[in-house]
């Protein structure tokens, strides 16, 4: 009993790390640009496809493919921002427009990936994906353990970048007060462009992990939108630490719910959480009411 509780907790935390990685890019983008990026999950799938093909064609380990997936998606992010969002940023209807635009991007990318690779289920199968650490009666699949640990490393690197580098500080400043950042000499247009790239790159990195954690197909991204949204909202819209903590919290809860009530309910945890948060504490876990509109 205790052992299985421990096991569920560890698995919840490991998956929580991956969710945190997924949500971090989304949160970063929302924080800096107030773009609710509905195309984020499909970018994760795109990252998974990069890892998948590198694995299929060259036998490259999906964990080693992470930086490649991230780089490819960084470029896609930058191009997308230039083509779709840069001009829109000046518009008065900006925030309403971005929801429609990211929705359109999600549809197009979904269609494109479907047309290119079809909607069959895929998964990469590195050796560790079918192996496990066994401590007595506690049984931890290696794939999930690795994915969780690597997610934590990437998030740690991201936090260090945001807190200790000059450009990272500019990103945080722009998130907290865009006009003020400009007045301090920050070129917020450039910060937006690079941040969008980084956010999408993080989705790509998460995608490489997803490629061996779950079987995936282009249309799967719809399932993740609500999951990721619940994390970002619970975290306090644009607050990175909030989103990360929410990811661990909800993922652990979902793991227990899944164990005791079945896996359908596990996904429902996120949807229910989203409703409850919006009703009870719309400013999120770490959000404060007065600040920002």
């Amino acid at each position: 009993m205790l052992a299985s509780t421990l096991q569920v907790l560890i698995l919840g935390l490991a998956l929580g790390g991956v969710y945190a990685l997924m949500a971090s890019g989304l949160t970063l983008i929302f924080g800096v640009m107030r773009i609710v990026n509905l195309a984020h999950p499909i970018m994760i799938i795109a990252g998974a496809f990069v890892a998948y093909w590198l694995f299929r064609l060259y036998g490259l380990d999906p964990i080693l493919a992470m930086p490649i997936a991230a780089s490819v998606l960084f470029v896609i992010g930058v191009v997308l921002y230039k083509l779709v969002f840069e001009k829109e940023a000046a518009s008065a209807k900006y925030s309403e427009m971005t929801v429609l635009l990211t929705f359109a991007v999600a549809l197009c990318a979904d269609g494109l990936l479907g047309a290119l690779f079809s909607n069959t289920q895929r998964v990469t199968t590195p050796a560790y994906a079918t192996d496990a650490f066994i401590f007595g009666t506690v049984f931890i699949p290696k794939g999930q353990a690795y994915a969780g640990a690597i997610s934590l490393l990437v998030i740690g690197a991201l936090l260090a970048f945001l807190n200790f580098s000059r450009f990272g500080t500019a990103i945080r400043a722009t998130t907290q007060n865009r006009a003020a950042a400009q007045l301090m000499g920050v070129n917020v247009g450039r910060v937006s462009l690079i941040t969008f790239g980084i956010g999408i790159a993080l989705a790509g990195a998460a995608g490489a992990l997803v490629s061996f954690l779950f079987s995936f197909f282009p249309a799967k991204h719809w399932e993740w939108i609500a999951i990721l949204m619940s994390l970002v909202v619970l975290g306090g819209m644009g607050k990175l630490m909030g989103a990360i903590l929410s990811a661990f919290l909800l993922s652990v809860i979902a793991a227990f719910v899944g164990t005791y009530f079945g896996s359908t309910w596990s996904t429902m945890t996120f949807f229910l959480a989203l409703f409850v948060i919006l009703l009870v504490r719309p400013q999120g876990l770490l959000g404060d009411r007065q600040e920002e509109a």
Partner: protein, 241 residues
């Protein structure tokens, strides 16, 4: 003496809305404290946003030491030497006092120089020094205004622009703010401020400019403006009585 900052016939508005500034003019000389007054909605804040590049202008021109700056971005205008504290102070609420000051020196790449300047400023503002690691968002209004002002000094700008620095502050703190502004002027900086309380503003300024309906009505020595019967009648109202 050549004008430090010159605003000529500027027209500006928000988005595709009506023009808020309808040919505003402004002349700021080096080493003075100039105070802009005018009724609510006159366009005082809008003029400041236009000068600092936060709001693009539709026509007219803005020059700093003869050089056009009206097509530059806010970050470029800061680099030219104009620092601005907007009406809402524009602090980073979830950064500490020290981090806010560091952001003030964002354009200074020499880390040692930046540290030295931050220490200088902290030395000058003991209130901030005591609270160096407190989050800006949790400080009182007066402390926040001090921080916002102190932060602009890190880059040693030619002009410090302040939009209603006395807003919501106790009279004693307001006097401290003006004392600091005078110190800044005496150390060679130029101060351009907007003041809701025209009497207090003009008493502490060298020159005044009256703005209404997006146009400049008068401009001149602060003392003269204070005495000008038209201005007294129009804008000082009860406050002057």
């Amino acid at each position: 003496m050549p004008e430090l900052l010159e605003v000529r016939n500027v027209v500006a508005g928000y988005g595709s809305g009506p023009a808020i500034l309808n040919g505003a003019d402004l002349h700021v000389s080096p080493g003075e404290i100039q105070c802009i007054i005018g009724p609510n909605g006159a366009g005082k804040s809008t003029l400041m946003k236009a000068i600092t590049g936060l709001l693009p202008i539709r026509s007219g021109e803005i020059r700093l030491m003869g050089e056009r700056i009206d097509r530059l971005r806010p970050d470029q205008i800061l680099q030219k030497g104009i620092a601005f504290v907007p009406q809402e102070r524009a602090l980073f609420p979830r950064m500490s006092v020290r981090e806010n000051l560091r952001m003030g020196g964002y354009t200074i790449r020499d880390e040692r120089e930046l540290k030295r300047r931050i220490d200088d400023v902290l030395h000058r503002f003991p209130i901030l020094s005591e609270r160096a690691s407190q989050h800006a968002g949790t400080m009182s209004g007066g402390q926040q205004q001090m921080l916002a002002m102190a932060r602009t000094l890190i880059v040693r700008p030619k002009i410090v622009m302040l939009d209603e620095p006395s807003l919501g502050l106790a009279p004693m703190i307001v006097q401290q703010m003006f004392d600091i502004m005078r110190q800044l002027r005496d150390s060679g900086m130029t101060v351009l401020l907007v003041e809701q309380n025209a009497v207090v503003g003009l008493k502490n300024a060298d020159r005044g400019t009256v703005l209404d309906l997006g146009r400049t009505l008068f401009s001149g020595p602060a003392r003269d403006i204070l005495k000008d019967p038209r201005v007294r009648e129009l804008y000082l109202g009860k406050a002057a009585a």
